[in-house]
């Protein structure tokens, strides 16, 4: 009884309008915006983080933790739609999302969310190579540099299955959504030949290791590039000529969400121009929010090729799609073979 009083009363005074449980990528928001949301709406935000789509999915699927807002990537949204895990959005509650998010991003979302019923784009970008200009002499244009013996122990690869295979599939000229076993075997073998050259398979640490001059080349999300360059001016980002992944991370509401209206309020708040700008400046991932982009004061950033690339000049850009359980298993089995490989 007393415990309940202690736990309950303080927060209900401060937050009369209930709670919203948010599950987002690590370091993917300016926490100041959460405080502003709490202050303006009287809704308490309980905020958790994940590091890959694959670790997020089982938690939502199991339904044990009732998140109200989640921010998965394209192909994972498709998987969640396919498995009936998402609630349809009520667009009447999302005026900022309708007016501020560029139409082209909703169009791009159709690939994984037909009819735009489930998702509101939050960030987008590409995947490319971040390299240290003091350690790499030649111009970096192709994924093939990640197989160059010269850079043994100086290469960082992504420790996440689809991102890792994307690099090899693109290098081989295949689709990164391939489910063809022969193509995937070839990609696996290519990644195994690369393993002795790789310093480590990491996710978020690519950023810190590149800033700290730990490696010459690293596969990284475009959004990290601006941040890393700010910290270490010797770093440069390039989209390889064989093509890459163009991804969108979008807000969605799980079917079992208990605070759906608060969730929509949260999503719409994040789509407000000034809030989206705060988030862009903090996390430096490309924003699909045109209102926010217009507010960017620094012209170099507003027109930055890294933050807002003109995608029409690149070839073979693709977005991940969900490949089904069978293919998921194949990818995971092949990934395990790569992880298990040792040259000694």
């Amino acid at each position: 009884m007393t415990a309940c009083l202690f736990a309950g009363c303080g927060s209900s005074d401060k937050y009369p309008n209930g709670k919203v449980y948010v599950y987002n990528w690590g370091e993917y928001i300016d926490e100041e915006t959460i405080k502003l949301f709490e202050k303006e709406t009287g809704i308490e935000v309980i905020y958790d983080e994940f590091d890959t789509n694959e670790t997020m999915y089982p938690k939502i699927e199991a339904g044990a933790s009732n998140y109200d807002v989640v921010c998965p990537s394209d192909y994972m949204i498709q998987k969640m739609v396919d498995n009936d895990l998402l609630a349809e959005l009520n667009w009447d509650n999302l005026p900022n999302a309708r007016s501020n998010i560029g139409a082209e991003y909703y169009e791009q979302s159709l690939a994984f969310d037909p009819d735009n019923r489930y998702s509101v784009p939050y960030c987008w970008g590409t995947v490319g190579i971040l390299y240290n200009t003091t350690m790499v002499d030649e111009p970096v244009t192709s994924w093939s540099i990640l197989w160059d013996e010269k850079y043994k122990d100086n290469i960082l690869m992504q420790d996440s299955v689809r991102d890792l295979f994307m690099v090899a599939l693109k290098e081989l000229g295949y689709s990164m959504n391939s489910t063809n076993e022969a193509e995937l075997q070839e990609a696996k073998n290519l990644l195994i030949t690369q393993k002795p050259l790789v310093q480590a398979y990491v996710i978020d640490q690519v950023r810190d290791k590149m800033i700290g001059d730990e490696a010459a080349l690293g596969v990284i999300y475009s959004g990290e590039a601006i941040y890393t360059q700010r910290e270490n001016p010797n770093l440069a980002y390039v989209i390889p000529e064989e093509g890459t992944n163009v991804w969108i991370d979008s807000w969605v509401i799980p079917k079992n969400a208990e605070n759906k209206e608060n969730a929509e309020k949260f999503i719409d708040f994040m789509c407000r121009g000034d809030i989206a700008l705060m988030n862009f400046e903090f996390i430096t991932y490309s924003t699909p929010n045109t209102a926010a982009r217009d507010l960017i004061e620094d012209e170099d950033i507003r027109n930055s090729e890294i933050a807002f690339p003109d995608l029409s000049q690149y070839n073979n850009l693709e977005t991940f799609s969900y490949l089904g359980e069978e293919a998921d298993r194949l990818y995971n089995d092949l990934w395990k073979e790569i992880k298990s490989y040792t040259s000694y």
Binding site: T52, P58, V161, Q199, A200, R329, K336, K339, S340
Partner: protein, 270 residues
């Protein structure tokens, strides 16, 4: 009656957090996605990747345990020979790092060992050759030794302090040299502590996945990593549970061996 009432919370604890989860692991391990009985999840240990991961885990945890023992025994001897005021201070120094989170301590080693990490910066400053063990099995063993050393020191230290000094004096009176005293009196009497220390280091080292991810750069796949991946990434709880059962067999084997050597059951208590 009263005694029974007192044990109720522990019974509840055991049921809720040990027995029920264990039964769930066994259930998941012996069924497939449709819920039908299968041994496939356990037989999966025979695939090349899984058996290699298990082999690596056994090898690395064994190496870690042996190094821990070699470091811990002399230290425990020194500690047990000290006065109370001195040794409690040194024991405190050993336990102090354990107040900090295990994960943080392992991440600290990552920054220490990096190419441009603190250790290499100091070595370069002194014009010494740099240390390149990050992302290799050696770094994983180092992480195991560092994290689990206190679990080896304390039981051995406890066993050593329990030895009656008169026994040692008697051996010396009867003409045994110091080496003979150690080999025939002190070491056999401290064996229960040694056995308990080995179990307490070997088991967590065998099942670790954090150390190999952080210090091995995800390049060395241990059986703990396979299981973790099945639960958190692939979402195949059945396979993860099946492999956990296999791992449990190795842990039980280790405990049976301990029980055989440790007949008096002294080492089991800290």
């Amino acid at each position: 009656m009263n005694k029974k009432m007192l044990s109720l919370p522990y019974l509840f604890w055991c049921a809720a957090f040990i027995i029920i989860p264990l039964c769930m692991v066994v259930y998941y391990g012996l069924t497939d996605k449709t819920g039908a009985f299968t041994l496939a999840n356990i037989a999966a240990i025979a695939t090349a990747e899984h058996s290699k991961a298990l082999w690596f885990s056994l090898l690395l945890s064994l190496a870690g345990t042996i190094i821990c023992l070699l470091l811990a025994y002399p230290l425990a001897m020194i500690l047990s020979g000290m006065k109370v005021s001195q040794h409690s201070f040194i024991v405190l120094i050993f336990i102090l790092p354990m107040w900090m989170n295990f994960l943080l301590r392992t991440m600290a080693w990552e920054t220490l060992l990096e190419k441009n990490g603190i250790i290499n910066t100091v070595l370069r400053f002194l014009h010494l050759p740099s240390l390149n063990i990050i992302n290799t099995p050696s770094a994983i063993i180092l992480g195991m030794v560092y994290n689990f050393l206190p679990f080896m020191v304390l039981p051995i230290y406890n066993a050593l302090t329990k030895i009656d000094p008169n026994v040692v004096n008697a051996a010396k009176d009867l003409g045994a040299g110091s080496i003979q005293t150690f080999l025939r009196i002190i070491f056999p009497l401290s064996l229960p502590g040694v056995i308990s220390g080995i179990t307490m280091v070997f088991v967590p080292a065998l099942t670790t996945f954090v150390i190999s991810t952080l210090l091995g750069g995800s390049k060395i796949l241990l059986i703990g990593n396979v299981i973790e991946q099945e639960f958190t990434q692939t979402g195949n709880w059945h396979l993860g549970s099946g492999l956990s059962i296999v791992l449990m067999i190795f842990i039980l084997l280790n405990m049976v061996l301990s029980a055989i050597f440790d007949k008096e059951g002294e080492g089991a208590t800290l």
